[in-house]
């Protein structure tokens, strides 16, 4: 019995001994507060951030807020008590988390805003594609598609939003509509798919096809909503190309729909670049060093850091994906993470 116990303790000691160097090499733990895991972009962001942060020596832990602002506020309070090297926050509500960000920074913990900027208070770093800018890129694509189809920028667009309580979708709508204002002959019908639920989007498309059979283009604010839109088009006897389709976020399902000919354009959020930028600058963020404004090469994409009222802000522009470039591995929807390891910015 003694021997068995001694062997078990011996094995455990050996295991701890092998683990210790791994901990010793880690520069610290970074907490990522993700708004939800019911969305492919968010689940993709967890694996991308984890992978890139590991490459520069940080361990990452993730907390999911299930799209609840109060839950994320509690998570912030808990994480502050743990004194991590840094907190990466993708806020459920862009501004409700302001006091939590301020508390964390007051406790000496750097806060990074990921994908969802908080502009009402200072953060140590913000990495975004820009939700309003996604709307702009979508508007440019809509302009091009309508011109090709109708000879001029005119026609009817059905815009399927996400949940109307989510600032993310409202910002895309704002960006899209402010650019489309330049074209008075374009009528935009905007309807929300409550809780980002796919079958709600399908119902909207079915109803609108009856009420407005002359719809030229359907723009859904997430690729998974386009899947339901396509199912409704199919049920209505439509074939790929009968009605133009566009969506945003660049999820794998969107790229599949492009390959099948249903989707014309997917506006991608450069997930890998957004995540890589955070990791590349994490040493500077943790050590509270200055992040100089200017251009940065982020895994082959041009990221621009500017000093904003809310702190250093890196923007990596989103790209329009269509049939011509759908297989480009740089798009996160193709699920081929970059193989080259990133390096911390000196």
């Amino acid at each position: 019995m003694k021997r068995i116990l001694l062997s078990i303790f011996g094995i455990l000691a050996l295991a701890f001994a092998t683990l210790t160097p791994a901990f010793a090499q880690s520069k610290g733990t970074v907490y990522y507060l993700v708004p939800t895991l019911l969305d492919e972009f968010q689940t993709g962001s967890v694996s991308a951030l984890e992978m890139f942060l590991k490459q520069v020596g940080y361990e990452m832990k993730t907390l999911n807020a299930d799209n609840k602002t109060d839950a994320q506020q509690s998570q912030m309070n808990d994480v502050i008590a743990l004194k991590p090297a840094a907190i990466i926050l993708a806020a459920v509500d862009f501004n409700a988390l302001k006091p939590s960000v301020e508390s964390a920074r007051a406790a000496g913990i750097p806060v990074v805003e990921f994908d969802r900027p908080i502009t009402s208070t200072k953060s140590d770093f913000t990495s975004v594609a820009g939700t309003v800018e996604i709307g702009h890129v979508a508007a440019d694509s809509a302009e091009k598609l309508l011109k090709e189809k109708n000879g001029a920028v005119k026609g009817k667009i059905l815009q399927v939003l996400g949940d109307p309580g989510d600032p993310y979708t409202l910002d895309i709508q704002k960006g899209f509509e402010e650019k489309m204002k330049a074209f008075p002959d374009v009528k935009i019908i905007s309807l929300p798919a409550m809780q980002w639920e796919a079958s709600n989007a399908g119902t909207i498309v079915s109803d609108q096809l009856q009420a407005n059979p002359d719809i030229d283009l359907i723009f859904s604010h997430a690729a998974h909503l386009s899947v339901a839109a396509v199912a409704s088009l199919e049920s209505a006897g439509k074939k790929p190309g009968d009605i133009m389709l566009m969506s945003s976020n660049g999820a794998p399902v969107g790229l599949d729909l492009i390959r099948k000919g249903w989707l014309n354009v997917e506006v991608e959020q450069p997930l890998y670049a957004q995540a890589a930028a955070v990791a590349m600058l994490m040493d500077k963020i943790v050590n509270k060093q200055e992040i100089k404004p200017g251009e940065y090469d982020v895994i082959g994409l041009k990221g621009v850091v500017t000093n904003e009222e809310w702190g250093p802000n890196l923007k990596v522009p989103g790209a329009a994906i269509d049939k011509s470039n759908v297989d480009d591995p740089k798009f996160w929807g193709n699920q081929k993470p970059p193989t080259d390891k990133i390096k911390s910015v000196e």
């Binding site: 019911l38 409550m194 796919a198 009856q210 009420a211 899947v227």
Partner: protein, 331 residues
């Protein structure tokens, strides 16, 4: 009041939800542009198929004097199971069975089994272990949705096998087959509730469980069966959801539970148990779907749609309460 007037009034009260539906359809047809057309009415029936089937299971356990909050998550899990097995893109494995039509019964069996097992689990804890139905099914609502997330990793499955998807595309008399499945379910379960001992026993159990037990009726067995049926029917609604959206996402079906409750209550089922009929529930489902469609067509600002939806549902429930008051006065 003479007997003829009384009979007419009772007929109207018994079918008030159908009259409400006709009234709402007439109002929307008159005032909402593009509402009055066959295609829109077909959409209303089609859009109500998933909610309708889910509401049947929920109504059974409510009539039996209990409740099941897990039906929405169970539907999502069944949809995800079917999606993972029979979708060819995303996280789908794309399993093929030959001949292809066999995929239909197999996928339905998978969905029913997933739902039935969770229903059995709920039923056992509630009926045998005497635990609170609200808490047990609330826990299932949470853990089953968590399981959907865990097995999908937050990713989605798309491109359902054409043999299964066929039910969402093919139409009979202008309605997709999924809508006919929902109508068929309502007919079958309405007959079960009205014409079989099991149906009548459920109503009796919901009215007075102790008296039913003393009358020699197997309360425990019937109640567990009601939970198993609620789970299996929720599984079937998940199958319909997967067919309708050609796959499954981790958040599929979110929000359906509250609509199902609204439909059941509007349909005249008492939350206290022992009262209610399934045709009324179907009218409630159609009423909600008619309201939803009107909101879609009115093109209201996105921020206000939830408010309007909620207020219209509230109006429908208040009207139903008014009906109960008149009925009490008649009695």
């Amino acid at each position: 009041m003479n007997p003829r007037t009384r009979r007419i009034l009772e007929f109207v009260l018994d079918n008030l939800v159908w009259f409400m539906l006709l009234f709402v359809l007439a109002i929307f047809s008159a005032f909402v542009p593009n509402y009055f057309q066959l295609g829109i009415f077909a959409n209303i029936i089609e859009a109500s198929s998933v909610l309708g089937v889910m509401s049947i299971g929920l109504a059974l356990v409510i009539i039996a004097g209990h409740m099941d909050l897990s039906v929405e998550s169970v539907a999502a899990l069944a949809a995800m199971a079917v999606g993972i097995l029979f979708c060819s893109a995303g996280i789908g494995y794309g399993y093929q069975i030959h001949p292809e039509w066999l995929m239909v019964p197999v996928s339905i069996a998978v969905a029913l089994a997933v739902g039935g097992i969770i229903g059995l689990f709920n039923g056992y804890l509630i009926v045998k272990a005497k635990m609170n139905a609200f808490i047990i099914t609330l826990a299932s609502y949470i853990w089953v949705r968590g399981l959907v997330l865990a097995i999908s990793g937050g990713r989605s499955a798309q491109d359902l096998a054409p043999a299964i998807r066929w039910f969402g595309i093919q139409r009979l008399l202008g309605l997709p087959l999924t809508a006919w499945i929902a109508i068929g379910c309502f007919v079958v379960f309405s007959l079960i509730m009205a014409k079989t001992p099991f149906g009548r026993h459920l109503v009796m159990i919901g009215g007075n469980e102790t008296a039913t037990f003393r009358a020699g009726i197997r309360v425990t067995r019937n109640l567990i069966l009601a939970f198993v049926l609620a789970g299996a029917i929720a599984g079937l609604s998940g199958w319909l959801l997967a067919v309708r959206t050609s796959g499954a996402t981790a958040n599929l079906g979110i929000g359906l539970l509250f609509n199902a409750f609204a439909a059941v209550v509007i349909g005249g089922v008492s939350l206290k148990g022992g009262v209610g009929s399934l045709p009324g529930v179907y009218a409630g489902v159609l009423l909600l779907s008619a309201i939803n469609t009107a909101i879609n067509l009115m093109g209201l600002p996105a921020n206000f749609t939830q408010v309007i939806h909620g207020l219209l549902v509230l109006a429908a429930v208040m009207l139903d309460t008014f009906k109960q008051t008149i009925r009490q006065r008649l009695a």
